[in-house]
Symmetry: C2
Subunit: 346 residues, 2 copies
Amino acid sequence: MNEAPLSVAAVATANPVLVEVTRGTVVESRHRGSIAVVDAAGRVLHQVGDVAQAVYPRSAIKPLQALLLVESGAADRFGLGDRELALACASHRGETVHTEAVAAWLGRVGLSPDDLECGAHLPYDPKSMEALLRAGGHPSTLHNNCSGKHSGFVTAALHLGLPVKGYIRREHPLQQRLYRTIEEMGGESLAATGRGYDGCGIPVFGVPLRALARAFARLDDTAGLTPERADAAGRILRAMAVEPVMVSGHGSFVTRVMQVAGETVRLKSGAEGVYCAVLVGRGIGIALKIDDGAGRAAEVAMAAALRRLGAFTAEQERELAAFLEVPIRNVAGRDVGVVRAAADLS
Amino acid sequence: MNEAPLSVAAVATANPVLVEVTRGTVVESRHRGSIAVVDAAGRVLHQVGDVAQAVYPRSAIKPLQALLLVESGAADRFGLGDRELALACASHRGETVHTEAVAAWLGRVGLSPDDLECGAHLPYDPKSMEALLRAGGHPSTLHNNCSGKHSGFVTAALHLGLPVKGYIRREHPLQQRLYRTIEEMGGESLAATGRGYDGCGIPVFGVPLRALARAFARLDDTAGLTPERADAAGRILRAMAVEPVMVSGHGSFVTRVMQVAGETVRLKSGAEGVYCAVLVGRGIGIALKIDDGAGRAAEVAMAAALRRLGAFTAEQERELAAFLEVPIRNVAGRDVGVVRAAADLS
């Protein structure tokens, strides 16, 4: 039996606390992380914590991944509109509006849910999940939150004359083109960053947080992009604002922000506490990572960052108040605490 | 539009990283926290991070709260056995074995699920949740993970001649006796710590992490406890080992550890990243808190701490391997990463 002391040296350089979770009179839990605010030229306008660290962007890069669908000509070839482009950017919540729209898209291009390689999971939306189960149903690839993105992938593969089968594999030309797109938009080499696989099966690679922010800024300030990419960026940003429910789902943070402030903000969440946004018309990109991966903290941190950067009018801020300070309710429905930005970020 | 720099001073004294979450070739997320290892006399044998901090123990104190049920004579009055005592300590997963046992208990004491004030929620066990919904059912208070604890509360209230109605209220004599029990067992004043409400509606109060660990040590090394409390502690520890499925559910970490190493370990989880344990026969208590509240990290940190303290034989460690390094699988079932203890804790 080993009883040697568990001595662990304190880590000297921790990212700051961005978000606090209260219960009653005290803070119960804390979330640390970093935030990068960058312009299209790569100038870091504001930073909190370590913004050079490479993170797996996860779903936050869906709007960047959607560039290929448009700039390749695939979207025009198949007559895709704002709904499809928004779905290509989506981590949707599996509501009927989502699954029906994805099914219709696939049908239009002559494909089916079986061609998607993302796998099936229950809807993220609790009501839709419950309804599916009560009706005796089973989830299909349509319900997968990434099915819009994957529909974009197979559509682009079709148009480019690439094999539709195996499109999620790292060696597939589609994935290689997506990698180059992200690298180009971020402006930093990704050759030596982490490599892994996402929840939906596609490859992931690390991207420095500041490069992520820059990539989002460049969706708005398109100087230096090819005409095709600049056009694609504009169409993607428009689609997100026109079809905000497609990008996430009714009542969600991402959807509500774009419903309320869609002229000035586009944003996208990623798993493990990643969030990106662009302040449209100002050429400013935001990227943040919560160290511990918590989605509840990433949302509040993004809400606070947007507010701090003047993204909202006073009226919009009031409409989004419940996302700036998120109430925690217990099983009986009693308010017991809040999730809020830490003082420095307020 | 306010574009003043978001300057946030780095926090100098962060708790160390206890748990890492990997994806592919790199660490994707990190969880910080603190761990206290304390004996029954209050000597801190090992510490990691800040162990003086007061935390809301949440469900981790259920075994301590169960002392009242036994030492008051209520358990004997109503002929409660190991199953009920284990349920009183449980955050159960809402499987049929749990709901049926709670229902039977309430019936035996002449009460019903309507007497529980914890509220209803869907079972924590995904299979049981799905089965309930597919069958067209709706959750009752029985499915609430705290229903065993609350059954212990109403049983104790009955026996003590206290009102059963309103037993969750802070002013109720039952809650006041529970508060004193925790304060006595931990050996530190709780007068100035945080105050709030738990998910199930009962009051919460902050307890210094080291006092939590000491309280658990005292369940085993009962010197200084009244004979009634010492007897109650022994019966509670036995019940947890005899009925490990009741304490949590099939396949869960808490249940598996006690199924595999139940002669030497009792443990209990709490929301927001709290875990407590006692090394039986050695008079050692362990309490940990993950700063950001993540359950995935609290489990791995507790597994690593138990291993580090020699709680497992080599064979037991092999049986529990999947809890020491937890595989992360994507939707398609591919292994994409792990949740593991950080180097200092391994």
